[in-house]
């Protein structure tokens, strides 16, 4: 092994891999690790300069490459040897649902699909449709939490599926939410819905008996269409006003970030919110301080409307059907743009290995 490494240095065998200036001490193992991972290449092909001082720029390079190599190695895709990105719609895996799918959400093993009036469970590993619950004629968006599956009803309901029970009818755990509950999020204690018209958010507290209690808040909201929880706060996007709002536990707006009009569905990558706007851009907002850190416009963005994150990659679906745009999330490097299925996409999720797209007109979901 060491000889092979040294071979890259023109046959010069160093004391520590290719390096002739690092003694074979316990430090050698660490240096070889970051060499084989490509985190460092040394100061020359045969020297590492162990006593050299690292400046801030060099530190940035080392840390950036460390993050990338750890995420690449630690991903499920690496363990399963699935490093590819699909090249065209024909190679996607399709599952046909009983009705027109609207929303998809992964629970780690299955993909849940709202296809009103049904809510269906699809096995992620083989795409097999396993079972369907019925009784949700206005089902919209999904949440997997508390061992249950929740789905918003456009007419003001929140439905629950208990996947531990045999498939049957969904249960309405609350009705009378703000008009047109749309997207849905969970903070570990309560369920939040973004209600688009008239604009409000609802906070639902699970309880021992049905109906659960809900509080609907209109102050501060005009047309919320996206909502997510970043581990500390709820964030709400407002469609036409182009605002991103950080929300406190009571539903009060803590911070407003002005973005651009016509905001699509955002995704959180563990540090930043990726907010697509139909105005041909994806805006990156750091969750820790609400700072707009950059704006992406390339990589075939034409009407970007839905973002989803799989642990390494960010996927953006473009509403003009021209492309699915993929980025490496860590440094926002474009991976490329792929031709999408010729159908509108209403929701996207990831199970940590694949992305899943809801294709209502085809009555299908697609594994990407």
């Amino acid at each position: 092994m060491l000889a092979a490494l040294a071979g890259t240095a023109g046959g010069v065998s160093g004391l520590c891999g290719p390096f002739i200036d690092v003694p074979d001490t316990p430090f050698c193992r660490s240096i070889l690790e970051i060499f084989t991972l490509g985190i460092t290449v040394g100061t020359t092909p045969t020297t590492y300069t162990p006593d050299g001082v690292v400046n801030r720029l060099q530190a940035a390079v080392l840390l950036s490459r460390t993050i990338d190599s750890v995420l690449d190695r630690g991903s499920r895709a690496a363990a399963l040897g699935q490093f590819w990105n699909p090249g065209n719609p024909a190679v996607l895996g399709y599952t046909t649902l009983p009705f027109r799918p609207i929303s998809v959400k992964a629970d780690g093993e299955n993909i849940w699909v709202s296809n009103p009036p049904a809510v269906s469970r699809v096995r992620a590993s083989d795409g097999k449709l396993l079972e369907s619950w019925t009784g949700a004629p206005d089902a919209e968006f999904l949440l997997v939490a508390m061992g249950k599956v929740f789905v918003t009803g456009l007419n003001g309901s929140l439905y629950q599926v208990d996947p531990a029970q045999p498939a049957g009818s969904v249960t309405a755990v609350v009705t009378g939410l703000g008009a047109h509950p749309f997207r849905i999020a969970y903070d570990g204690g309560r369920i939040w819905t973004a209600n688009i018209n008239p604009g409000s958010i609802s906070i639902i507290s699970p309880g021992p008996s049905i109906p659960w209690t809900a509080t609907t808040i209109t102050a501060g909201f005009t047309d919320p269409n996206g909502i997510l929880y970043d581990g500390s706060h709820i964030w709400v996007t407002e469609f036409q006003s182009g605002l991103l709002k950080k929300v406190g536990p009571s539903g009060a707006v803590l911070q407003t970030v002005t973005l651009e009009k016509d905001i699509g569905r955002p995704a959180f990558d563990g540090a930043n919110l990726w907010v697509p706007t139909f105005n041909q851009a994806v805006l990156i907002v750091r969750a820790a301080d609400g700072r707009l850190v950059t704006k992406l416009r390339e990589n075939e963005l034409i009407g970007p409307s839905i973002a989803a994150f799989d642990g390494r990659r960010m996927l953006i679906w473009n509403a003009d059907f021209s492309a699915i745009s993929l980025w490496r999330a860590s440094d926002m490097t474009p991976i490329g743009a792929v031709a999408p299925p010729s159908d509108v996409v209403t929701d996207i999720c990831s199970d940590g290995l694949h992305f899943w797209l809801a294709l209502p007109n085809a009555g299908q979901i697609a594994r990407f």
């Binding site: 993050i67 780690g108 996947p163 531990a164 699970p206 021992p208 581990g231 994150f309």
Partner: protein, 387 residues
């Protein structure tokens, strides 16, 4: 477009950055907000650690690229790098499940056999040793469905999926070891050994042998064979009341509740190293670097570095009340406190408390494990909770 040109393009398109509260401040620099990173081939790296919050620069518009990094600064950079990498790489991030379960109303509950004690994930299903029912229940993690139950596991006390099987201890005198073949229809367990030290209450596997911690004062090393009985070696020397056991990928470690110690064993079961921890240490967890030991009678958790055996810190507070079992999910450590009806969470990377959370009145949380997405906790007389 090459990398540097791409980066230049991205940031040429940054018209203005909007600060918190909508206060607009132009942040257009040569490289993101930074005006002093002039070499475009390095910009991508700087931007990556900037957007991840690993650095904020030396001022809002400068990065000071040529300045040396002190050891203190490097520690901060590395710590934030670890946090950012774990936050992104965890399964919870990909599944959009970044919450911490807040209380009893938010648990997902599944009824299992009576007297559930230990619990372990095989990656897809959760296996629960139910000592009151002499059975083992298999629960489908994604749906929470109770799939099947295996009978005949007398005084089932701990469980481990390994070798494509599920192996279970029976806390009897002498102790027993049972095996389940999950590929077969559920039925009775197979007894593979019945001469373990008395009252085994915890089990681990080192890739070749099963190891059990036996409360009556021994450790058993069991070698699997093609057919039962499996060979058993009982080691008593140096042990008072072993309560918990784990394998850290190099060595087996045992908590001795009688001695108040954590001991490292060699491949023959001899004690290589003894670490004094709190009173009555119970079921520990390993986070990839450190061993977290719940000290039942000290209301503390001892954190021990596996590589050196050094006691890094003794954690108290965070609602610890006779803590019993620890579990690790890739980012967080969870510790059960049966007498407090609560679980306590810490961020494993820097040992900071996340908080404590109720599992319900008289729920008596006991054993715990993680499947990488949720923690699973045995509760009360017959329940398994998804946390």
């Amino acid at each position: 477009m090459n990398r540097s040109a791409r980066v230049a393009t991205i940031f040429a398109l940054v018209l203005a950055a909007v600060l918190a509260g909508g206060a607009g401040t132009a942040l257009l620099g040569i490289c993101g907000p930074f005006t002093d990173v002039s070499d475009p081939s390095f910009c991508n790296f700087v931007i990556e650690i900037f957007v991840l919050g690993i650095t904020t620069g030396t001022t809002p518009t400068t990065f000071d690229p040529a300045a040396p990094v002190s050891r203190l600064q490097m520690a901060a950079l590395l710590s934030r790098t670890v946090d950012a990498t774990l936050a992104r790489g965890g399964r919870r991030a990909a599944l959009d499940q970044l919450w911490v379960t807040q209380g009893a109303e938010n648990l997902g509950l599944t009824v299992v056999g009576s007297g559930p004690v230990d619990v372990r994930s095989d990656g897809s299903d959760i296996w629960v040793a139910c000592g009151g029912a002499d059975s083992v229940t298999r629960v489908h993690a994604s749906t929470g469905r109770s799939l099947e139950s295996w009978s005949g596991a007398a005084a089932a006390s701990s469980v481990i999926p390994a070798m494509g099987r599920v192996v279970v201890t029976g806390s009897t005198a002498p102790g027993r070891l049972f095996s389940i073949d999950p590929g077969q229809p559920a039925g009775a367990v197979t007894t593979v050994a019945s001469s373990l030290g008395s009252f085994p209450g915890a089990i681990t596997f080192d890739g070749g042998h099963f190891w059990t911690a036996n409360q009556a004062g021994s450790v058993s090393i069991v070698t699997p064979a093609a057919a039962p009985p499996w060979d058993v070696t009982n080691v008593t020397s140096g042990f008072q009341a072993p309560a918990g056991i784990l394998f850290d990928s190099a060595n087996v470690w045992v908590t001795d509740a009688g001695a108040g110690s954590l001991v490292k064993l060699d491949s023959a079961g001899s004690i290589l190293e003894t670490v004094t921890v709190g009173s009555s240490p119970r079921h520990p967890a390993y986070d990839g670097a450190n061993i977290w030991v719940p000290d039942e009678l000290s209301d503390s958790v001892s954190v021990v570095r596996a590589a050196t055996g050094a006691l890094l810190r003794t954690l108290t507070g965070n609602a610890l009340s006779h803590p019993l079992a620890a579990a690790f999910d890739g980012q967080r450590i969870l510790v059960t406190s049966p007498s407090g009806d609560r679980v306590s969470l810490w961020k494993a990377a820097d040992l900071t408390p996340i908080g404590s959370f109720s599992t319900g009145a008289a729920s008596s949380p006991h054993g715990a494990c993680s499947d990488g997405i949720n923690f699973w906790i045995t509760l009360g007389s017959n329940q398994l909770a998804r946390f």
